[in-house]
Symmetry: D2
Subunit: 375 residues, 4 copies
C-alpha cells in the first residue's frame, strides 16, 4: 500500500536586513503517514555555492511521487544575506562581509550541555524517548543563545535558526560546492559505510571534533553522547543512528540541471538505503571511491604571487613531483624566471583548486587527498 504524503511549504525568518525587512527562506516539507527517518537538507549556506539548489529542485520533483516513509525537510538557498552579496560579478558568499565570519562556522556545540544531560540519563530509558529528551535539551541550549538579552551575531543567529530544524533530524545533508572542484563528501568516521550509498568518488572521513559547521554540530553531540554513555553504562550498546554529511556538489558559481539530476539520484540512493522509502528509488552505482582521513586532506599554498594556470584537474591522480600548476611572473618575462612550476609534494589527488588565476603568496592553490585509499 502506498504511503500518504503531505506536502507543505512555509517560510522561516532567519535575519533582518538594514532596510528593517525580515529575510526568510522557503522550507519545503514532505511528511508521510508511515513512520521512517526524519531527514533535513539545506543548500547554499555559502551564497556562491548554488548547485545544491538545483539538486533540491530535482529532489522535490522526485519526492512528489515517491513512497516516502518518515519526513523530509528541504531548505534551499538558506542564506539570504550571503546569496545576495555581489562584489564585482561574483557572489561574496562565504563569510559575513562585515566581520569575515564564515557562514558555516557559527553553529552551536556546548560540551557542558552534554555533561548535564548524561547526568540525568536513565540507563534503561527507551531509545526513542531518550533521543527526544536529548533533542529538547540541545534545542533548549540553542534557544537560550538565541534569546540572550545582549543579542546574538548575525551568522550565529542564521546558523542557530537552521540548526534547530536540523537537530530534530536523523539524517542531515548540507549541500555545498568547492571553488573549482570535483564532487566529494565529508563523512563522520563512524558512518563510513554510508559513504558507499552515495555516487560520490571522493570521501573525507572526519573525527569527532567540532569546528563550527552544520554536519559537526549535528553529529558531534550524538557521537559524544554515545561515547559518554558507553563509558558510563558499558553494558548497553549506545547507538543513535543519526548521520550528517557535508556534500560538495562540484564547483561554485555555476549550475547544471543535468548534473543536478544525477546528484539528486545519488542522495535518493542513500536515502533509499536508509529506509526513507517503502521501496528503494535507486541503488548506488558500482564505482571506485577514494577516501582520506581529514588529517591527510592537505592544502597546498602558493609560495609566490603571480598568475596561475591550474594544470592538474580536480579528481586527477597525480604522482609525486608531477606538475600541478605554472605561475607567470610578469616582472621577468624576458628570461627563464618568467614561468615558475609547482609540483606535487607527494602522490595526491587534487580535489579542488582556487577559482582565480591571480594569487598572492599564501593562497590556497589546491586541496589534495594524500595517503588516500579505496573505500
Amino acid at each position: 500500500m502506498e504511503p500518504k504524503v503531505k506536502f507543505n511549504k512555509e517560510y522561516l525568518v532567519v535575519a533582518q536586513n538594514a532596510s528593517g525587512r525580515n529575510l526568510n527562506v522557503p522550507v519545503y516539507r514532505f511528511k508521510s503517514d508511515l513512520p521512517g527517518p526524519k531527514v533535513y537538507l539545506q543548500s547554499s549556506i555559502h551564497g556562491a555555492e548554488v548547485q545544491g539548489n538545483v539538486v533540491i529542485y530535482h529532489l522535490i520533483q522526485a519526492l512528489q511521487s515517491a513512497p516516502l516513509k518518515g519526513e523530509i525537510i528541504l531548505v534551499p538557498n538558506c542564506n539570504p544575506v550571503g546569496s545576495n552579496l555581489k562584489s564585482g560579478e561574483y557572489t561574496l558568499g562565504r563569510f559575513d562581509p562585515v566581520n569575515g565570519q564564515n557562514w558555516n562556522r557559527a553553529y552551536h556545540f556546548d560540551q557542558s550541555l552534554l555533561d548535564s544531560f548524561v547526568e540525568q540519563v536513565d540507563p534503561k530509558a527507551d531509545m526513542a524517548e531518550l533521543k527526544g529528551l536529548f533533542r529538547d535539551h540541545i534545542k533548549q541550549g540553542i534557544d537560550e543563545v538565541l534569546t540572550s538579552e545582549w543579542g546574538v551575531g548575525l551568522a550565529q543567529q542564521l546558523n542557530l535558526k537552521l540548526q534547530r530544524f536540523a537537530f530534530d533530524a536523523d539524517i542531515v545533508l548540507d549541500l555545498h560546492n568547492g571553488p573549482v572542484s570535483t564532487r566529494h563528501i565529508y563523512v563522520p568516521e563512524y558512518a563510513r559505510e554510508s559513504a558507499k550509498f552515495f555516487n560520490i568518488p571522493h570521501v573525507i572521513l572526519i573525527p569527532n571534533k567540532f569546528a563550527g559547521a552544520l554536519d559537526e554540530a549535528t553529529f558531534c553531540p550524538w557521537w559524544t553522547l554515545s561515547e559518554l554513555l558507553q563509558q558510563k553504562y558499558p553494558e548497553r550498546h549506545w547507538q543513535f543512528g543519526v548521520e550528517a554529511f557535508t556534500v560538495e556538489m562540484g564547483s561554485q558559481e555555476v549550475i547544471d540541471f543535468n548534473a543536478g539530476e544525477h546528484d539528486a539520484r545519488s542522495i535518493l540512493s542513500y536515502l533509499s538505503a536508509k529506509g526513507c522509502f517503502s521501496e528503494p528509488l535507486f541503488t548506488p552505482d558500482v564505482m571506485q571511491r577514494h577516501a582520506v582521513f581529514l588529517r591527510d586532506y592537505k592544502t597546498l599554498f602558493s609560495q609566490q604571487g603571480g598568475i596561475v594556470e591550474y594544470l592538474a584537474k580536480p579528481g586527477q591522480i597525480v604522482k609525486k613531483h608531477e606538475l600541478l600548476a605554472r605561475v607567470l611572473n610578469v616582472d621577468e618575462l624576458e628570461d627563464n624566471r618568467a614561468v615558475g612550476e609547482i609540483s606535487a609534494p607527494c602522490d595526491l589527488i587534487p580535489i579542488l583548486h582556487f577559482p582565480s588565476a591571480s594569487v598572492l603568496g599564501g593562497t590556497q592553490l589546491y586541496k589534495c587527498f594524500t595517503n588516500y585509499f579505496d573505500l
Copy 2:
C-alpha cells in the same frame, strides 16, 4: 641582412598606494635599427583579465629572435591597483573600488585640441613631420591634465600615463578578456581589412565615437584629424596609417599558456602584415570571421533574478526563439514556475556571458552579435 634589435626594460610609475609607495609597471621595449612601425601593446588594464599577460610573455619570447623593424613596446599587467584587488577569491579588476570608475574609460580625448591643431596645419607638410607635430600637440594636452594644480583622479592618472606611450605608436593593441567569452576584437570601421590578419573569429566594427577606452583614445584623434583635414583640404589624401584595437582573448580569471601561444601568433600575423618584420613571421589562418557593427552588438539583460544555467555557449550560432538559458526560482520549486526559460529574441551569436550563476534582475546575461555578416 638581419636587423639589429636592442632590448630594454624599464619601470613606469603609474600610481601611488595608501602606504605612500610608488606603483610601477614593467615596460619591455624592442627597438630595431631598421625603420618600421611603432607598436604599443598593453594587457590587464582590467585586473581580472590576465590572459593578455601570457600573450605578451609569448610575444617577448618570439621577439627575442625576430627580424624586427621599428619598435615594439609591451606593458603587461599595466594596472597595479586593479590587478591586486581581491574581493572574495576573485579579482575586483574592472573599476576603481572607491568610486566605480571603469579603469578603461578615463583616457583623454579633447575635441578642442583637434580644432586648434587643424588651424595650424600646413596643407603641404611632410606626413611624418605632421604626425610628429600632432603627437606632440596631443601629448601636451595630456600633460596639462596630468600636471593640473588641482590634481587628477586615479583612473585618469593611470590611463594618461599609459596613453602618452600609446599615442606615439602607429599600432596600439589593448589586450582584454570578457567574462566567459569567445575571442573577439574591436576594430575601427576604417581598419576593417586589418581584422582579417588576426585569427579571431568575431569582429566588432566601431564608429568614430569616443567613450573613454584606449583604442578610441588612439584612433579617434587620428580619424577625426583625417576627416577635418580632408574636408578642409580635399585635394590631398589624408591617411595617417594609425590603427588601434581592443582584443578580447577569451575569458577573465583564467590563463592558458597554449592558447596564449596561439594568441601571440595571431598578433604576430597582423604585425607581419603591417611590415613590422623584415620577413613575415606568420600569415593569417584561413577561417570564417563574423562581424557586426557596434550598434548590432546587443546586451541581453535578465528580466528576473535567480540562478542561471548558461546553455548557449560563446561563439555558438543561435536561431531566434532557441533556448539561451534556464533560471531556477528557489521560491517555487514545487510547481511549474520553478524553471524559467530565456530564449533568443532574434538570430544571434552569444559572444560572452555573465560569469556567475547568481543574477539579480537587470544583469547583463549575454552580449550577442545580431545582424552579423561575414567579413
Copy 3:
C-alpha cells in the same frame, strides 16, 4: 477651512534579487482635497546616505497634521540593493557592485523625445493640459525603455521606476549626503531664488546639462522644452514651474534625529513658499547663503598616497595657501619628508572631504567652492 488630507501607503517593486525575490520600497502619499503642487521626495538612492530617511520620518510626522494642498509623495530608502550591501562595516551604496554603475546616473533623458513633442505642441494650448501631455510623452519614453525585449540594466530599471513617479511632480527633492560634508543643495540656475527658501548655507547652481541624476532628469526636459518653445513661439512666456533639487543633508553613514528635524523644517519652509499648504508652516531662516556655479565647484585630488588628517572642516572659509590637510608618509618617518602639507590653491570653502584617512594618489580629498558669492 482645513483641507481634507488622505494618507496612503503602498509598496513599489523596483528590482529582483538573486534569490528571485521582489525588492520593493515603501511609498507614502498625502493627498489633499485642495488643489496644489504635486511634490515628490526620495532618499537614500545612494545606500550609505541615510539621513534623508530621518528627514522623511520628520516630514511624515509633520504632514499628519498639516493643512496640505496638492499632493506629497515620499519614498524613503528608495534603493533596496544599495542600502543592503555591506563591505566591511560600511555600506557600499554609491554604485552597483557588479559593474560600478552609479545608482544616481541612470535616469532617462532623450533629446529626441523633446524634439518630437515640440513638433506637436499647439502654441495656444492650455498650460495644465500641455504639462499633462508632456508628462505622458516622457513617461511613454520611459516605459519603452523599461519594456524593451532585451531587458534593461539594474540601475536603470531602479532609476526609471522611480523617475516615472517623479516626473508627475512639480517639485522633486532627492535627498543625499556627502562623505564628510556640510549641508548643501544643487539648484538649477533658473530656480536660483528658490534656494533662499531652504535653510541651507551652500548652494550650487547647475546648468541645463543632463549627466544622469534625478534632479537633472526632472528639470532638463522642462527647461529644454521651455527653451525650445520660447524659441519657436517667442510671443508666449513658456514657464512650467517645475523645480528639482538634490539636497545634501550632511555626512553619509550617520543619522541624527535632531538635525533631521531641522532638515525637515527647511524643506517645509520651501514647500510653504511654494504654496503646498493653506497657510505657511515655516518661513526660511535669515542666514548667509554662499553660492557657486557648477564650473567653480572644484575637486582637489591627492597628489600622493598616504594617511591624511583633514584639517579644514566642511563649511570653513579658507584663504589661498592656507593649510587644508597633512599627509603622513610611513616610509620616511625619520626625517622631514615624514609629513606632507596640502594647501588651498585659491580662496575656497571646502564643502566635503573624503571619509577615510587612507588615500591613494588621485583620491578626491576635498570638493570646494571657489569664486563663490552671496546669494
Copy 4:
C-alpha cells in the same frame, strides 16, 4: 653620561602580491650602547586602524634625542595588503578579503613547544640564558611553519614574520583602533600594575588564553612557561618580565597628529617606568582608570535591522535602562513603530560602537564594560 644610540632602517618582506611583487614594511630600529629592555611596536595590522602610524611617527621624533637604554624596534603600517584594500571609500582592513581570516588571529602558539622546552630546562639556569634558549626554541617552531613544504596561508605568513621580531622583545605593543572608540588597552592579568603607566582610561584584563592575536602570542608562551616551571620547580621564582599589550588608540579611519603626540607620550611614560631610558622622559598622568576582566567586556548586538543613531558616546557612564541608541524603521514611518529604542541591559560604559548607521539584525552595536572597577 648620555648613551650612544644607533638608528637604522631596513625593510622586511612580509608578502608577495598578485603582480608577483614583494611587499615589504619599514622597520625602524634604535639601539643603545647601554643595556636595557628590548621593545617592539607595530601598528596597522588592521589596515583601517591608522592612528598608530601617527603615534610611531611621534615616537620616532622623540627617540631621536632620547637617552635610550636597550633597543626599540618600530614597524608602522605593518600590513601592506590590508592597508591598501579599498572597498568603496573605506579600507577593508580587518581580514583577508579572500577568506575572511582576521589579520590579527593567525599568530603562532603551540602548547607542545612549551612542553618540550620545559623538559629540557635546567632549574638552575641563568635567567637571561634561559630566556635566550626559549626564544630560540619558539622561533624555531615559527620557522618550521614558515618553511613548510606545503606552504602557509597569507595572514599566517604575515603574522609569523612579524612575530619572529616581536618574540625577541621584552615589551610588545600592538597599536590598534576600534571602530568609533575611546582609548583602551588590553593587559594580561599579571601585568595589571603596568596599566597605570599608560594614560589610558579603560583597561581590559585578559587571562592566559591564546586566541590568535599578537599580544597573546607574546605573553601566553612566557606566562605558560612561568606557570609550568613554577609548578615543576616551586623553590625558584619564575618571572620573565615580558609584557605585551594591545593598545586601542581611538577610532579607525581617522588620524589626528595632536592626539598622536599624547598617545606617544603615554607610551613613553610606560617605557620610562620600565627602564628604557637613562632618565624618565615622562611620568604617567594622575587620572581615573576603569578596568574590567575580559569576561565582563560584553558585546551588545542589534536585535533588528535598521538605521541607528548612537546616542551613548564611547567612554560615557551609562546606567541600567538608560537609552543607548535609536533605530529608525523606514517601513513604518507613519506610526509609533517608526522609532525603536535600545537601552542598557545593566550599568555599563560603552567603549566602542559600530561605525555605520546601517545595521542588519545581529550587528555588534556596542562593546561595553560591565562590572567595571577602578584600577
